[in-house]
């Protein structure tokens, strides 16, 4: 069976930076869905420069560019 496409394109955990295929990242995903913005680039695991503001966040990877999101808790 082939791994899911997302695991190929985004092989790293955005919270801890570990390989997603190598372990259980349920707790990491829970933090990302609630109180934490991504800290590691999901494509290369580099630590990103993250800026949080009252309504959102931006995260910049030196190789893969900037991503953005809103509040935690499904916001």
């Amino acid at each position: 069976m082939e791994p899911p496409a997302d695991t190929v394109e985004r092989p790293y955990c955005a919270w801890c930076g570990g390989e997603r295929a190598a372990g259980d990242h349920t707790a990491c995903d829970r933090r990302l869905a609630s109180v934490d913005p991504p800290r590691h680039c999901p494509s290369c695991a580099r630590r990103m420069v993250v800026q949080v503001d009252p309504v959102g966040w931006t995260a910049r990877c030196s190789r893969h560019g900037e991503s953005a999101g809103e509040n935690g808790f499904g916001g």
Binding site: R39, V50, V52, D53, F73
Partner: protein, 348 residues
């Protein structure tokens, strides 16, 4: 959504050390407006879990009697993130720990945009925060430019949290029109050395005294759940009361990766709520604000219980490095609870 289960307080087996401490508090705090002593605060913290609802109800009465129904709403933003030389063990922004948080500066345009976003929620306070021991010339210049730009475009009170200050810096911030200055003592004096080793509780206290003398409002609180005992939590409440702050922000520990406190548990909801009630009974007239960590510790219904248990202010939206729930959810909560948002002209 989950309501906080009052059956999970840490002190389930503890006796009601004050006899009927809530009856005493009703007469002393509600009727006479005198905050509880350290021993009395401890007695509240040690109440059995089946008295949590009663404690919250009394704290709410105290808040309504001595502060009124309005809720003060605030937004905060990090002007300078990460790379801090201090070793506050709860903080992911210390440059001394292997934290994933990288250093970042916010430019003035984004700072003004953040103030606008905050004002749109109806907030009266916008706090500019920097992760530093104290501000250097570059930071003071960025703060000066940022405050001038905000005051030109946004109708909101500007607060600052820039660490420990010199007298000259205090005077400069007051001259810039800073309405309130935040500098948390974080925890009880007796517990502080377990939390920070690169500066002292007394150094923080000195900054707070200078802030007050310069005419700025004093905002000073801390974090619950950093390994302190209930005795130390009571000690902290009374030390804060001795400072007579205009505002006390109450945070609940978010154990952040890479920090020395990463291994600690998220505080239990019922303990957190009993702490809220106890702090209100120690500080009957202070703005008592829900700050970081309430989402993890209390959830949605626990936050409502806190708003009905002595809290009369909230930070809405995201925090400095952590995310909060959308501001709309908190504003909806206040509407449901029929709690009006404090207007800007009420704060001047």
């Amino acid at each position: 959504m989950t309501a906080v289960d009052p059956s999970t307080t840490a002190e389930d087996a503890a006796p009601d050390a004050g006899g009927d401490i809530l009856a005493v508090a009703r007469e002393q705090v509600l009727e006479r407006g005198e905050g509880l002593s350290q021993e009395q605060v401890l007695a509240v913290l040690q109440l059995p879990s089946d008295r949590l609802s009663e404690a919250l109800a009394l704290a709410h009465e105290v808040r309504m009697r001595h502060c009124g129904p309005e809720v003060e709403v605030e937004g905060i933003v990090s002007l300078k993130t990460g790379g801090c030389p201090e070793d506050c063990h709860f903080c992911s922004q210390s440059g001394l720990f292997e934290s994933p948080v990288r250093a970042a500066w916010l430019d003035v345009d984004r700072l003004v945009e953040a103030a606008k976003q905050t004002a749109k929620t109806g907030a009266t306070e916008f706090c500019i925060v920097a992760a530093v021991r104290g501000p250097d010339a570059k930071l003071m210049e960025q703060v000066r430019a940022g405050i001038a730009a905000i005051r030109a475009e946004v109708d909101i009170n500007v607060a600052c949290s820039l660490g420990m200050l010199t007298q000259e810096q205090v005077d400069e911030l007051a001259a810039m029109g800073v309405h309130r200055y935040n500098h948390n003592l974080e925890t009880a004096r007796s517990h502080f050395p377990e939390v920070v080793t690169t500066h002292s509780w007394e150094e923080r206290w000195e900054t707070l005294q200078m802030v007050r003398a310069a005419g700025m409002e004093v905002c000073c609180g801390g974090i619950v759940g950093m390994g302190e005992s209930l005795e130390q939590r009571a000690e902290f409440a009374v030390q804060l009361a001795g400072l007579e702050p205009d505002e006390v922000p109450l945070n609940f520990l978010i154990p952040n990766p890479g920090t020395p406190f990463a291994h600690l548990e998220v505080p239990q909801g019922a303990d957190a709520l009993m702490t809220v009630a106890a702090f209100r009974l120690a500080l009957p007239r202070t703005v008592l604000r829900f700050a970081g960590g309430r989402e993890l510790t209390l959830g949605d219904l626990g936050a409502e219980q806190g708003m009905l248990g002595g809290v009369n202010a909230i930070i809405v939206g995201n925090y400095l490095t952590n995310l909060g729930r959308p501001a709309e959810q908190d504003l909806d909560m206040l509407e449901t609870l029929k709690m009006p948002i404090k207007a800007l002209n009420d704060t001047l």
